[in-house]
C-alpha cells in the first residue's frame, strides 16, 4: 500500500473549483458594480454640454462656477445666470426650452452631483483654485465632455499623492480635510 495526498486532491478538485469560481465571481461582481454600474456620468435633468460651453465657446470655468475661487464650494450657476445668455442665445433648442421652463416656473434644477465626496471630507475649492491647480486635475477634461463624467477616482490616495508631491502646508494632516 502506498500513500500520497494527490488522489485526494483529485477527488476534491471539482468542489474546490466550484468554490474558487464562486469566490472569483464575488470579486468580479463587486468590481463590476463599482466600475461598470456605478454611474460616473449620470443623466442630468437638462443635457447640459460642457463641451459646447467650455470647449467650443471657451467660456472659462470660473465664469459660471464663480464661487470656486473664494468659497469652499464651487457653486452651480443659478438659473438666472443661465438665462442671462439664453434669453438671447439658442432659444429654440429643446434643452434650452427645458431650461426656460424651469425659469418660468421658478423651479430649481435638480442637477445630479457627479463629483461627490463623502460627508466627512471637507474639500475646499478656494485653496486649490488659488494655488493654481487646474480644474481638470481633479475633474478631468470637462471641456471635452458632452456629458460630465467622473474621471478620477476621487479617493484619498489621489489627494494625498498630490499633497505629498507638492509638499502642501499641512498637506498630510488629517484635519486638513477631515474635521
Amino acid at each position: 500500500m502506498n500513500v500520497s495526498i494527490v488522489p485526494t486532491l483529485r477527488v476534491l478538485r471539482p468542489a474546490a473549483t466550484v468554490a474558487l469560481v464562486g469566490l472569483i465571481g464575488i470579486i468580479a461582481g463587486f468590481y463590476a458594480n463599482a466600475t461598470l454600474f456605478t454611474d460616473t456620468s449620470p443623466e442630468q435633468p437638462i443635457a447640459f454640454s460642457h463641451k459646447i460651453h467650455a470647449g467650443d465657446n471657451e467660456v472659462p470655468c470660473l465664469y459660471c462656477h464663480v464661487q470656486a475661487r473664494r468659497s469652499i464650494s464651487a457653486g452651480v450657476p443659478s438659473v438666472n445666470k443661465c438665462m442671462g445668455c439664453h434669453l438671447e442665445v439658442a432659444t429654440d433648442r429643446p434643452q434650452i426650452r427645458l431650461l426656460a421652463n424651469y425659469w418660468d416656473t421658478k423651479e430649481p434644477i435638480p442637477w445630479i452631483k457627479v463629483h461627490d465626496l463623502p460627508d466627512f471630507v471637507h474639500f475646499t475649492h478656494k485653496r486649490h483654485v488659488q494655488a493654481g491647480i487646474e480644474c481638470q486635475t481633479c475633474h478631468g477634461p470637462v471641456e471635452t465632455m458632452a456629458v460630465v463624467s467622473r474621471e478620477a477616482p476621487l479617493k484619498m490616495g489621489l489627494c494625498l499623492n498630490c499633497h505629498k508631491d507638492n509638499a502642501v502646508e499641512n498637506g498630510t494632516d488629517c484635519w486638513t480635510c477631515h474635521k
Binding site: G29, P42, P108, D116
Partner: protein, 757 residues
C-alpha cells in the same frame, strides 16, 4: 478545463453567477446615495454657497436685550454669537441666548394659524388661513364695547408703541405686560429712594467691593452677561486691585459660588442686615453728608447685635462687612433675587440701595449710575403687570367682565401660582387669542392661535433695560426666511388693525416700516447733516446697535421723609412653622429662566451649574437637615404648602440654610412640546399669594412648606459624580494675585526623552 462535463459546467456557471450576484449586492450595499446640486433660481443678494453671512440682531430670550450676531450658511441660521459692538454684552452671550436657535428650529413650533374645534384644552385645533384667523379675531374685536385685555410679554421699543396704539384704538381695552421675572420691587425701591423711573446701571466692572444681597447677577438677574463681563474685569481685568465680593442669601446661587465670601442670612432679613451695615457705617462716622444726623436717627434701632439676632449673621461679621464696605473705594451694593422676593421686598431693596448712597458712589465709576430714558418706546416700567394686577384681572375675568384676551408670548398659566385663579379666569373668558410661537399652557387654552415668528425671523427694536449708563438702542432683523406660515407679532397686530380699520392711527402695513418710522426719530436726534436716513438705517442694520453719549443727571438726594421712614418690617410667611417647617426658596435656573427654556433641548441638557442636574426638578436641602429627616440624595419627597404639593427628588446641597429648601423654576410644564412636557415640577404652582404691599409683586420666597418622604427613590439625573476634590488639587487656590515665588505653567513640562537610544 477541456474535459469539463455538462454537470460540472453547470455547477461552475451556477457558482459563478451566485458569486457575481453576491459581489454586486455587496458593492451596492455600501454605495453612497445620489446627491443633488440644487441652484437658486435667482440667488439672494448676499448669498454665496459655502461662505457664512452674519446678521446682527437682538437676543429675544430674556429681557436683558443683548446684541447678537447670527451666522448663516445657505440661508440657515447656524450659530448665535454676541454682537461685539453692542455695549451690553460686547460679543459675549449666555447659554440661553445661544440656545435661541432652538426656538427657531424647534420641532414643536406652531406652524400655522389655528382655530379651536371643540372643547378648550383638548388640543383640538385645526389649521386655518391667516385671512380667516385674523377675520375671526377682528370680527369679535370690532363689536362695540367689547372688553379686551392685551396681555403681552414685556416688550420694549416700537412694538410696545404699537401695542399702546392698538389698545388705545380698541377703546375699552387694557394693555398689560406680564413677565414673571420683572423686578417690580427694584423699580419701586429706586423710585422711592431717588425718584428714578429707570433702573440704574451698576458699574460692576470698576468697583472694588461688591456686596450683593440675594441678587444672582451672574446668572439671570437683570443683565447677566453684562454683569459677568464686569465681574471678570473687576476680578482679574488689569492692574487694579482685585474685586472683593460678598454674597448674602439663604441658598448659594451661582453668584454666591463666585463670591469671596458667602453669608447665609435668614430669608427676608437681608434688608435688616443692610440697615445694620448702614448703622455701623454711620456709627463709624464714615458718612459725612449733610443728612448724616437724619440717617443716624433713622437707623438707631439697627445695631449689629439686634440685627444679628434677626438675620442669623454674627454681629462681628456685620461689623467687619460694614468696615470693609466703607473702606473699599469704590464699593457697590446690589439687591434683588431672594432679597427682593419677600413681603418686605421693596423696603429691603431701599435699604440695600441706601448703602450706595451712604458710601457716596452714586454717579461714580464703580458705583450706581442713573440711566437715561429710553430713546424709543415707552418706559420699561410702564404697564408692567405685577401679581396683584394679574390677580385682579383673574378676578375680573371670573366675574365675566373680560370678553377677549389676547396673549402675546407670555405664559401666566405657568408662571402664576394656582392661588391666583388664572386657570378659572381663562375658563370664563369667551375668546382667548394667543400669538405664541409655541403651544404653551396658556396657548393650549386659546380659541384662536395666530402664531408669531420667533425673534430670529422678525423685525423689531429694543432699548436694553437696564442700560449701560448712556442711550443705547438696537435693531433686530430677520436672519432667516420664515420657516413656517407664521407672522411677526407686529404684523399680526397690523393685520388686525387693518381689518378693524385703524388706518389713521396705525398707518403701517408691515412691521419693518413701523420700526423704520420709529428710528427716524432716533436719526433725527443726531446732528443735522449726518447723512440721510437710508444710509443711517443701513449702518444701524450692519452694526446692529446705535448709541449716544447722553447721560443722566447724577445728583442724588434722598428726601428726609424717605430717610425717616426707612426700615424693614419682619417678613411675612404663609404657613405655620409647626406644620410647614421649611421656607421654600424657588429660584430661576440658569437654563430655564422662568420656564421658557424648557422646550429647548440644549437647555434641558445643560447641567445646572451647581448640582449638575439635567432634565428635571429637584429639591435642594441642607445635609444636616436631610440627615435628621433620614433623607438621602435621590429620595422622592412631597413638598407641600397650604396651596398644594409637588413631588421632587432631594438633592443634598451643602450651601443652603438648614430651614430653607430650594427648588428651581422652569420645569413642570403640562404643554410646550416634547422636551418640556411632563418633566419635573413647577414650584410656582404651590406658592402662597403673599405680596409685597409696596410694589404689588408676588413674594415668591414667602411660602412655608413641609417636606415628607414618599418612600420612593427617583434620583435626579446628574452629569456630575463626586463633587469633592479628595485632596487631588484639581482646582487650585492661591492667596494673592501676584506671588512671584510660585511656579508658572511652563515649569510643568518635561519632554519624554528617557529611553534607550
Amino acid at each position: 478545463m477541456a474535459n469539463v462535463d455538462r454537470r460540472e459546467f453547470l455547477k461552475l456557471v451556477g457558482a459563478g453567477s451566485v458569486g457575481v450576484g453576491a459581489g454586486y449586492l455587496l458593492a451596492e450595499s455600501i454605495k453612497h446615495p445620489v446627491e443633488h446640486l440644487i441652484p437658486y433660481s435667482v440667488p439672494p443678494e448676499e448669498f454665496s454657497p459655502g461662505i457664512a453671512t452674519w446678521y446682527n440682531s437682538v437676543c429675544g430670550m430674556c429681557p436683558a436685550g443683548c446684541g447678537i450676531s447670527v451666522r448663516t450658511r445657505e440661508g440657515r441660521a447656524k450659530k448665535i454669537e454676541g454682537n461685539p459692538a453692542h455695549p451690553v454684552n460686547q460679543g459675549r452671550l449666555c447659554a440661553l441666548g445661544q440656545a435661541g436657535l432652538q426656538t427657531l428650529y424647534n420641532p414643536d413650533r406652531i406652524t400655522a394659524p389655528m382655530l379651536l374645534q371643540g372643547k378648550r384644552g383638548n388640543d383640538a385645533f385645526v389649521e386655518t388661513t391667516w385671512k380667516e384667523g385674523l377675520a375671526n379675531v377682528s370680527g369679535r374685536l370690532g363689536v362695540p364695547g367689547v372688553a379686551t385685555v392685551v396681555l403681552s410679554q414685556g416688550v420694549r421699543g416700537q412694538l410696545a408703541n404699537l401695542l399702546e396704539l392698538f389698545t388705545a384704538e380698541l377703546g375699552s381695552a387694557e394693555l398689560l405686560h406680564y413677565d414673571f421675572a420683572h423686578p417690580h420691587t427694584l423699580y419701586a425701591a429706586n423710585e422711592r429712594l431717588f425718584g428714578q423711573q429707570q433702573l440704574p446701571y451698576y458699574d460692576i466692572a470698576n468697583t472694588r467691593y461688591l456686596m450683593s444681597f440675594g441678587a444672582d447677577f451672574l446668572n439671570n438677574w437683570l443683565s447677566p452677561v453684562h454683569h459677568s463681563l464686569g465681574f471678570g474685569h473687576s476680578r482679574q481685568g488689569g492692574d487694579a486691585q482685585r474685586l472683593r465680593f460678598v454674597q448674602i442669601e439663604p441658598k448659594m446661587s451661582i453668584s454666591g459660588a463666585a463670591a469671596d465670601e458667602w453669608v447665609a442670612a435668614r430669608p427676608g432679613s437681608e434688608g435688616v442686615l443692610a440697615l445694620g451695615i448702614a448703622h455701623q457705617i454711620l456709627a463709624g462716622g464714615r458718612y459725612s453728608g449733610s443728612d448724616a444726623d437724619d440717617w443716624t436717627a433713622a437707623l438707631a434701632d439697627y445695631s449689629p447685635e439686634l440685627v444679628a439676632e434677626q438675620s442669623g449673621v454674627a454681629a462681628a461679621t456685620i461689623v467687619r462687612l460694614a468696615d470693609e464696605f466703607a473702606q473699599a473705594k469704590p464699593a457697590l451694593a446690589i439687591g434683588g433675587g431672594s432679597a427682593a422676593n419677600n413681603s418686605n421686598g421693596t423696603d429691603t431693596l431701599v435699604a440695600v440701595t441706601a448703602l450706595n448712597y451712604l458710601v457716596g458712589n452714586i454717579g461714580q465709576a464703580g458705583g450706581l449710575i442713573f440711566n437715561p430714558d429710553p430713546v424709543t418706546g415707552p418706559s420699561a416700567s410702564s404697564r408692567r403687570a405685577n401679581y396683584e394686577v394679574m390677580r385682579d384681572l383673574a378676578e375680573a375675568a371670573q366675574q365675566g367682565v373680560v370678553d377677549v384676551l389676547i396673549v402675546n408670548n407670555t405664559n401666566p398659566l405657568f408662571t402664576l401660582p394656582t392661588a391666583a385663579g388664572f386657570k378659572e379666569a381663562l375658563a370664563s373668558i369667551p375668546l382667548i387669542v394667543s400669538l405664541s410661537s409655541f403651544m404653551d399652557e396658556t396657548t393650549a387654552m386659546a380659541d384662536v392661535i395666530l402664531p408669531s415668528h420667533t425673534y430670529l425671523e422678525s423685525w423689531g427694536d429694543d432699548v436694553p433695560q437696564p442700560g449701560v449708563g448712556f442711550s443705547v438702542a438696537a435693531v433686530s432683523q430677520p436672519v432667516v426666511a420664515p420657516l413656517y406660515n407664521t407672522r411677526s407679532t407686529g404684523d399680526i397686530l397690523l393685520g388686525l388693525a387693518s381689518n378693524l380699520g385703524f388706518r389713521d392711527a396705525i398707518p403701517w402695513t408691515t412691521m419693518e416700516e413701523c420700526i423704520k418710522d420709529g428710528w427716524r426719530e432716533i436719526h433725527a436726534r443726531g446732528e443735522p447733516g449726518s447723512g440721510d436716513f437710508d444710509s443711517f438705517w443701513h449702518d444701524v442694520l450692519q452694526s446692529g446697535v446705535w448709541g449716544e453719549d447722553v447721560r443722566q443727571q447724577q445728583d442724588a438726594t434722598v428726601s428726609k421723609e424717605v430717610i425717616d421712614n426707612i426700615g424693614v418690617a419682619a417678613p411675612e410667611f404663609a404657613g405655620d412653622v409647626g406644620d410647614y417647617p421649611f421656607v421654600l426658596h424657588p429660584f430661576m435656573s440658569t437654563s430655564m429662566y422662568d420656564g421658557r427654556g424648557a422646550n429647548l433641548p440644549w437647555m434641558q441638557e445643560l447641567p445646572d451649574p451647581i448640582t449638575s442636574v439635567v432634565y428635571g426638578s429637584w429639591l435642594e436641602m441642607n445635609p444636616a437637615t436631610a440627615d435628621k429627616m433620614g433623607l438621602q440624595d435621590g429620595d422622592l419627597v412631597q413638598v407641600a404648602s397650604m396651596q398644594g404639593s409637588v413631588e421632587v427628588p432631594v438633592v443634598i446641597f451643602p450651601a443652603i440654610m438648614p430651614d430653607v429648601v430650594a427648588m428651581p423654576i422652569g420645569q413642570g410644564h403640562e404643554s410646550l412640546g416634547r422636551y418640556a412636557r411632563n418633566r419635573g415640577a413647577n414650584p410656582i404652582q404651590i406658592l402662597a399669594p403673599v405680596t409685597d404691599p409696596v410694589s404689588g409683586a408676588l413674594a415668591t420666597g414667602a411660602t412655608r412648606v413641609s417636606v415628607v418622604a414618599t418612600g420612593r427613590r427617583a434620583p435626579a439625573v446628574k452629569t456630575g459624580g463626586e463633587s469633592r476634590q479628595l485632596g487631588r488639587d484639581i482646582v487650585r487656590f492661591t492667596s494673592t494675585t501676584s506671588d512671584a515665588t510660585e511656579h508658572s505653567a511652563k515649569l510643568n513640562s518635561i519632554p519624554i526623552s528617557v529611553e534607550p537610544a
